[in-house]
Symmetry: C2
């Protein structure tokens, strides 16, 4: 077909009726419109989205390539818009992370970290011939108080044209970089309302992202997937060791790929444009944020355990490969230390712990099981190696809290089971809250003993497979995947180790301040449990201390919520930096009795039943009589 000289290949293909996939709409950000030039030469803008090998093989981005002579191009099936162009985890696409807002959080003013401001600088005259840059600065300063201002060269290069072509009505995107403000983009006309951000909780096991309209504060969409770094080790330390031997690039690429997939999916599903996503706020533990930013993790795992940075500077998202607006900024939640990361700072921010008068304990039940104790006067934080059991990893039928996950299990006196799944879908697997319910239920109904051992003589749901006992929760005919959903003896042991680590950490943190569990006014539990956690059952398990149940609150994904607060309020972001600086990191390995405490906590609910008076009757009953005693 004939195309006009200078037209982009993407436009030419569209006119010819050939659909080429593009999420970014031709901005050269998403890299989906990759096609191969078979013959002819083209005028292609350099791009970092193609490798040297691809360039040599003739690949170009259709949107960044202009036709100058006859060319022959082949569009792969993948690049065609008619196929399933967006490769996302099918499971993830069914998931909408439900993040209950915990009522405790502080109110922060709506003042997003990146904003758009429509200004109309007066056109120049012979008597007011200030330059384009200074003219824009003057106008911005008339509207917002901003002492220092910076502008990237690319923005400045395009500024005069934008001023002329918009007839002096432009929208400046202002990004906060410490105490300076950067004009990160200038668009023609009034684009102030088209201002989106992405918040990402980069967990060791799962990655959750929300797309937020920064003008209205509305959450437009949510998406999650497992962290693709999993093959490099389920735990943080394994991945650091991998990075030391093989380099960290694969780890960075894995998580950046996850984030890009999540963003791409949300953009494809909503009316938002990738170009209008101008900020990304990442939360996560220190190591995850280091991998994301490509920072050296070697010192994190070696005494005295220091990170490259606790408060990394905002960077251009494109610099680490995160595909939003190419000028958009990526912020990382500040960390407290090597083993208490930005997710915990976010949690403290989201729960208002640092502004509370009451003594508060905050437990983030993730792979690292971080615990914070304190109030507005002081904060002490530690990490326990809980492992990923509560996140659905390292558990045979475990899954993260997404659609189809069994999140609630009630054991009937007659041996019947009542299950609830997320989204009321057919059951797919078990998430963290479901696991707690199952193990608590098994314990209450006498199907396991205090060491967690399954007792096959008490239920025909308990069977042996390959030498390992397992409890059948859902039979294959009732499950989505045509396989039994089971909880194995190994799963139970994983969960007990995890809960013991958390309990031991909490106990030591209190003891180090000469306090006891009774002094806790509020116990806040965070984690990707979906929208439900039964506090009493967590006590029965001995995961959390036996305090009055009304003091126990489930706070949801506080990592994501805190990051969203920081995205939407510079004041909240500044507060998070203060929090990270003021909290004291407490290293459990310096405490001599940690292992002892851990071992004592591996029983149900604990070796020392006096610590759990409200559930002592259940625990004390003989295994087969427990179901009566517990009601």
């Amino acid at each position: 077909m004939d195309v006009e000289r200078g037209e982009t290949l993407l436009d030419a293909a569209r006119k010819a009726g050939v659909m080429i996939a593009s999420i970014c709409g031709g901005d050269g950000i998403c890299g989906r419109c990759r096609v191969q030039v078979l013959s002819g030469t083209v005028d292609a803008t350099p791009t970092a989205l193609l490798t040297r090998d691809e360039i040599q093989a003739g690949y170009i981005l259709a949107c960044q390539t202009r036709v100058t002579e006859s060319v022959e191009v082949t569009v792969s099936h993948e690049a065609r818009g008619d196929g399933a162009q967006i490769l996302v985890d099918e499971d993830a696409s069914r998931f909408r992370a439900l993040v209950p807002a915990f009522g405790g959080q502080q109110e922060y003013p709506h003042d997003p970290i990146v904003t758009k401001l429509c200004v109309e600088p007066p056109p120049p005259t012979l008597h007011d011939h200030l330059g384009c840059q200074e003219r824009l600065y003057r106008e911005i300063r008339r509207r917002v108080a901003t002492p220092v201002m910076q502008m990237g060269l690319k923005v400045l290069q395009e500024l005069p044209q934008h001023h002329r072509e918009s007839d002096w009505k432009v929208t400046a995107t202002l990004g906060s970089r410490g105490e300076t403000t950067e004009v990160i983009q200038v668009e023609e006309g009034d684009r102030a309302a088209a201002c989106c951000g992405v918040v990402v909780d980069v967990g060791t096991s799962t990655v959750v992202a929300h797309l937020v309209d920064m003008t209205t504060s509305e959450t437009l969409d949510a998406e999650a997937c497992y962290n693709s770094q999993m093959p490099y080790g389920a735990e943080v330390t394994r991945r650091i060791i991998h990075a030391e031997h093989e380099g960290a690039e694969a780890l960075r690429e894995a998580v950046v790929g996850d984030i890009n997939d999540l963003i791409g999916t949300m953009i494809a599903r909503t009316d938002a444009e990738l170009h209008d996503v101008v900020a990304c706020f990442a939360s996560g533990n220190t190591t995850m944020l280091h991998f994301l930013l490509g920072l050296d993790t070697a010192s994190i795992r070696k005494s005295p355990y220091i990170p490259a940075a606790t408060c990394p500077p905002p960077v251009r998202a494109a610099e680490v490969g995160v595909r939003i607006n190419p000028r958009g900024l990526l912020y990382a939640m500040p960390s407290i230390g090597s083993w208490v990361g930005g997710d915990i700072t976010a949690g403290i921010l989201a729960t208002g712990l640092a502004d509370a008068e009451q003594l508060t304990m905050f437990i983030d039940v993730g792979t690292n099981g971080e615990i914070v104790l304190g109030n507005s006067d002081w904060m002490l934080a530690c990490a326990t190696s809980a492992g990923p059991a509560f996140e659905g990893s390292g558990v045979k039928c475990g899954m993260r809290a997404s659609r189809g996950a069994i999140e609630r299990v009630a054991f009937g006196a007659d041996g019947s089971l009542a299950l609830e799944t997320i989204g009321e879908a057919d059951p797919v697997g078990i998430c963290g809250s479901g696991l707690i319910d199952v193990i608590a239920g098994l314990f209450e109904t006498g199907l396991i003993d205090r060491s967690g051992q399954l007792l096959p003589e008490h239920s025909d749901r308990i069977r042996e497979r390959g030498g390992i006992l397992e409890f059948v929760l859902v039979r294959a005919e009732d499950a989505t995947e045509d396989e039994d959903i089971v909880v194995t003896q190994a799963d139970i042991e994983n969960v007990l180790r995890a809960k013991a680590a958390i309990y031991a950490g909490a106990k030591i943190l209190l003891e180090s301040t000469e306090r006891s569990f009774a002094d806790i006014d509020r116990l806040l539990i965070a984690g990707g449990f979906g929208n439900y956690l039964d506090g009493r059952k967590a006590v029965l398990l001995g995961m959390i201390p036996d305090i009055p149940v009304e003091r126990i609150h489930f706070a949801g994904n506080t990592s994501l919520n805190g990051a969203k607060m920081a995205l939407l309020s510079r004041t909240a972001y500044d507060r998070s930096t203060e929090i990270a600086r003021s909290a004291t990191y407490y290293d459990l390995i310096t405490y001599p009795h940690y292992y002892e405490e851990f071992m004592s906590a591996k029983f149900l609910p604990h070796t020392d039943l006096e610590l759990f008076p409200t559930v002592a009757d259940v625990a004390a009953a003989p295994a087969n009589g427990r179901s009566q005693a517990s009601r």
Copy 2:
């Protein structure tokens, strides 16, 4: 030959005895080690120094490419170190710009715009486990007062390793970016003394660069060349029009290429390493600085004549293609307006005009012929389209003030000529000061009349060639190039137009403030005249007003000197920004009688002899009797 897997091609080639050119020593900055891979695949770091076409043809940078399997590589003659690997203007390499320091300048403290600071942060302990970034910041802040600090991602990525491998003794390179300080580089060990900068005067006709040791303030080397933008137009306006039609990329590439050649030559000639050049300070008129930075010039030539920016932000030099340390910063002198640029701000800084009590006139005799009038209370500036005659361009045997340029000419009463050349070399051509001497001499000895017309009847040195009269200054047998060195009738007319433009501008500037030439306490003349300008002859020409000769001072290349002051002192740089903001731009086209004044000034010395009382006797004498009258 056999090489180790993972070794760079540059190292492998060296071991094999094949010299590959490299100025940067393997940092991937200079791009000289470009070689072509004929077969085999390699592991090459992406680089912006190769085009898409080159990558497709298999070109790589030898220093950025690691051997992973058998490869066959061809090294072009150009890339071989044994040839003339550095392509510099032969003429330029003979040149050492002599920049007399004008005594009038202010003393500024030695506080370079980019500095290196060796710090020894205390190694972390379990009780002081601050992150690497925060640990470095803390140490820097103990040494220097710097409120806001930034660090690029690349620097942060390498920081922990540098800390570890240097045993906590590192050198931080600190760049000033407005009110913030950026840690632009961290090196291991004490590298504080290896801190160089380059100052470049980007003139419309010539580009001059100095290499400066920022620690000692010593100028290590100097180099100059013609501005390669010349083919796009001798004057600024022509080049802007070219950019509007064809894009500005070729213009940017031309001047960046010049700068890189100059830097490369100086680095090759001195002990300095390209890696240690961490700052570049560019001075020049507003349009030249715009082309260098890739800024839009369209509004500069159209009423109301506004630039993209008068105070462009510092940028990474690599971002515009200037090859110094890839993290090094490029600063541009702030401009006063579209037609009075950073070179004039530099001139005001260098001459101390803005701090003087006396009324001072500053004339920069370049292609734009800018004039500043004022003192510490006020400053008024304008530009005249003088043209490039005084810079050796648009003149048949003109050349810039470099080795072999005739810079001084004395006419003997007997018709003999005494010439002096720069470097006492054989004459090659005539520079600006030589031209002034020749035309003043021709006028004094009666060989031209008051309109500049050559009078062939008075000297056998005047002859006709191709219908144009010319004056033979040096006969071919005495010249280097085996051609007569002549001054043609057209050359004289070019010079008279240039001097008339300058004089008319100066007169109007004075009149607009209701002052006259007699009020001028100091008249400072800048320009690339080499190290000499005869003030009295300039008066005889009518280029400058007839004021007592002791008030006239030749100030040298103040554009370069001012930029060097700013490079070596942040205080001076801040002062230059104040100067640029406080000086008022006066547009000559708004003055109704400019053309009239210009026409009146085209005579020798002027139509109105009363304006030139001290030379009126020479002018009033009949042409053939002038030589007597003048002594």
